[in-house]
Each structure stands twice: as structure tokens, then as C-alpha cells.
Homo-oligomer: 337 residues x 2
Amino acid sequence: MRSTIKPSYIGLATMVLTFIVTVAHAADPLPSWNEGTAKSAIIQFVGRVTKVDSPDYLAASERVATFDNDGTLWSEHPAYFQLLFAMGRVKALAPKHPEWKTTQPFKAVLEGDMKTLAASGEKGLLTLVMATHAGMTPEEFRKVVDQWLSTARHPKFKRPYTDLVFQPMLEVLDYLRANGFKTFIVSGGGVEFMRAFAEGVYGVPPEQVIGSSIKTKFEMKNGIPELVRQPDLNFIDDKDGKPIGINQYIGRRPIAAFGNSDGDLQMLQYTTIPRDKEDTVPRLGLIVHHTDAEREYAYDHNTPFGKLDKALDEAPKRDWVVVDMKKDWKVIYPWQK
Amino acid sequence: MRSTIKPSYIGLATMVLTFIVTVAHAADPLPSWNEGTAKSAIIQFVGRVTKVDSPDYLAASERVATFDNDGTLWSEHPAYFQLLFAMGRVKALAPKHPEWKTTQPFKAVLEGDMKTLAASGEKGLLTLVMATHAGMTPEEFRKVVDQWLSTARHPKFKRPYTDLVFQPMLEVLDYLRANGFKTFIVSGGGVEFMRAFAEGVYGVPPEQVIGSSIKTKFEMKNGIPELVRQPDLNFIDDKDGKPIGINQYIGRRPIAAFGNSDGDLQMLQYTTIPRDKEDTVPRLGLIVHHTDAEREYAYDHNTPFGKLDKALDEAPKRDWVVVDMKKDWKVIYPWQK
């Protein structure tokens, strides 16, 4: 049987969908946000680029939004969760590595000496990542992460780490997607670590997760093609690396960027600063400011994890929205609803 | 005004859409393909993974298909089109580079000495790419490519290069997308070169184009954030690089891969070889065999551009579909319809 699509049916479907979308928009899209400038700024921005009669209307293909992960979509204290994962791996693998008892930064991990570990800096953290994240296939690594996510508990909240995602930000992700945005994660975290939960927890599929990575090697093992993760750095998706990663993976400048630390400064600049005087595309830059010591953590200028200093100073000049967690968010985590 | 979505409207929209999709499916989805084993294999594969009552049904998120570009989606003779672009750039930039008159491989380009150019191998080609593709922002590079695409003409067909895309493959791209597949380009070609036309010509958005790349550097220029393309190789998306790139950018193993040369061998292996005995996911590997000297070109084992040797030998063992262009395709290019 051969036939063609009847335009009238497409028209009908479009009408029905338009109606649904209109009704959906009328409900509060951000119920966990208190009324205020932050909430208004998000809703006004989305209206400007999506309302067909808006002078700033943009086609859906241009609606690209990027989100940092640690500290923006989930907590990052007392330390980046991936670092806590790596420390757990060091402890699990230690029996096979007697040399770690006397080698830094492994010794610090095994002795729970966070001060020495923090002092080992980026190089120390990378050493841990290489030792614990490489030497296996992506599928094997995924299983290790899944296992950790299902068993490890956060020291303060005694809950799985994936419970510590920010309910208000989940609403922003949903709201943007409901308005035709494509949402990407652009984070200093390891791409394959984040992919283990990004789809289930954030609704962000693996191909929209951009992160730091180590190299992989293609091998035929007993006739089966496998990739093997190498102890060799491929890309650091932090600071300058964020706009670089955005261009490399997405190939389009975002119109909205969400971050919480100086690691997001260049992404915020790249997303929001107009290219020239003719460039009047609406853009949204947003910083999550951790101000709630009771319900989460309070930190900014002085912290080894998620330092917010330059970006906070630059926010007023750039019209970036600074979210005051304590004031702007009704709840922090989904289980507090 | 607050309201919620009425399930009944969603039900109605779903019904209308289902009807449209059903009617669309009944039409021949591949009208430029002659009836035969190649066409049947594609249609049977799509049916197996998309029919809800099929034992091999896969969720849309698993329907990832990857396509090589040169020789698979458009022609690649008398030379890769990007090489012809680079040669054009060398000629345009030559007045600023008097040293090129005596330096290879530039001398060969300026003298039209294709033999010496071919003999310069991968290193020579990379030298050309670095000299002609770097030193500008991605936006500036995009303009240069756009300009070339709108003015350059193919030596045999006297048409813009974007006219030389394969109509039967455009139909495969559309057919897969209409069936919930996400289509990616995974090509040895430069990612920013391909992004200049992939969305308009193939319907593949920039974030679904994976290719070779050079590094970029983030700079603030007079207060404006810019990326600047560096004469420094970042990634070669060919041979082993294809599965590596797929894992890095997509993070999911494809279930269908389309190629035409030995550069696609590892992508075809990675996509189609079951991981173990329990792995019964249907997979499609397809090779476009250039057999039509009259309507396009005929080549395989012996050619500097798009050599098809090992992959052709391996095809029967792996059950890869080998498309005989001359026999299987009613037309080659869209303007021949």
C-alpha cells in the first residue's frame, strides 16, 4: 500500500500539540523556586526566546543550554563526589597495590588524611583518577560506577549521592526542554562517570554530556572489539576548557549557561557576552551561590571544591543571575518536597 | 492562570501522530533504491528494532546510527572535497606566503602537481590543513567554507560540491530519523568543515557531527571571548579513531554504521560484532561500494581516496550489506531525480 501524508492531519496534530504546550506553560514551571529576581529572570528569558510573537524569538535549534554539574546540578561538598568515588576505589584496590602505603597521594587516601590530599592539588587528583579510572573498558567502568552509586552514602546526608541533586535545577532542566531547548552538561567531572547517572537523574542522554576524559585505545580481544581506558589524560573540561569543549562537542554557542564556580567563568563569558553591537540575542548566565549552611553548605571565595571568586565579582557587570540558595530555593533536594 | 495538562489531549495528539507515522511508513521509504538485498536488509533491520511487537524492539534512545561522510554521504573523487578546499585556500593565500613556491606540499598544490601531492601522504595533507584551517575563529572559518561551498564547482560535474550528496543515502537518513533513530556523522573529515553544511544538506545538527579536529584556544579579544583555531592536531577521527570518537562524543554503541572504506572498518566492527553470546541486539553494517564509473566513480582496492580493501574482504564474514551503486541505486544525486 502506498500513500502520502495528508497535510490536514499534520495541521490537526500541530494544533493539538500547540494547545498542550500552551496549557503546560500556564502552570508554574518552577514550583521549588521562591518568587524573586532569579525565578523571574529565568522565566522571562525563556519567554523572550520562545514566544512566536517575541522580537527575540529563536528557532529551537538555537536553544542550547549548558550546565555545569558539581555544585550546579548536585552538591560538591565535603569534596567532589567523583573524588570520593576515586578514594573508595583506592581503598578497594589497595590490597593489589602494596606500594600505595608509602606513595602519595595514595597514602593520604588510605590514611584519611584529607589535608595532605588537598595539598596534592590537581596533579594529585589526576594521579588518583588515572590509577582508579583506567585499565578497563567503558562498560566495565560503568559497572564500577553503578555499583558505587547504589551503595555509597554521603557523609552528611547518609543518602546515595544521586539523591543530592538540586530539585530546583531539575525543574529548570525540564522547563527548558519543555520549551524546545537542548540541555547539555559541560563539567570538569569525568564524562564517563557522569554518563552513568545523567540520563536517569537529569534526563540528559550520554551524547549531551561533555566532561573531562582520559584516552581510550581500540583493541580486538579474542575477536571482540573493545575500547580500553588508558592512564593518559585526553581533555580537561574546566575553565578555558569549557568553551573549547562546547565548540568541539556542540559546535554552537549556547544562549544559556548555568554554573557555580570560577571553573564556569569562561563558559559564562562565552555564552553571554555579545560578539558585537549587532548581537542582540538574549542570553542567560546563572550562578548558583551556596549560601545555605544548614540545608546544604555555605561557601564561595575560600574552598578547595567549587571556589567562587572571580565569577561572583564579575556577575553584576555581566547581568548574571546569582541564585541565593537559602533565599531562592524552597527545597534543595527532591526528597525534601 | 494555573492549569495542568489534560491526559485526553495528549491521547488525541498521540493518536493523530501515530496515524501519520503509520501512513508514512506504508509509503516506500527508499524510493531511489532498486529492489534487492541491500534495500530489503535496511528495511528489515528498521522493522526489527522499531515494531513494538518485535522480539528485537529497542527503545528510541538505543537507536543510534553513524555515517561516514566522504564516499558514504557524498562523493570523494577526484580527491576528498576538503582537500580540494584546502588547495583552493593555498592558492588564495599564496600571495602572502612567497615561501610556498619552494616548499612542499604547497609547491605541488600551486603547480597542480597531484602526483607529488599524493606522495606527500597523510603528513602532507595535515600540513596543508594546518596552514589553511588555523589562525582564525570558528565563525571566520565557517564563512570561508560557506564562501567556497557557494562558489567552487566539482571538476567532473561542474556543480557545487553539496550537489554531490547521494540521494539514496539522504533517504536512509530520513527513514532512520522518521523511525526514532538519532543520526550521527562520524568521519575523518574536519568537524568544522562538515558542520558548515551537515545541517542544511543532511539534516544532521552540529552536535551530531563527529570528525577530525585541530585544537582551539580561548582568548579575550578587546573584551570579547573568542576561540582561535590552532595549527595543532587535536583528534583524527579515522580507523581506530572512529570507535574512540563514538565513545567519546556519543557514549553509546551504535546499532547501525554506514561506511565505504577501510577507514570505516573499526567503526563497522565496533558496531556490529556481538559482545558475547547473550548479545543478540540486531545490528546493521553497510558499505557503499563505488561501482559506477559512468554516473559517479568506480574504485575500491586501489585508490588514494577511499580505499576499500580489508573492509570489503571482511564484509561477507560479518554479514555487512555491500551496496553496489550501479545496481542498487536508481539515481546517485538529488538533481537526477
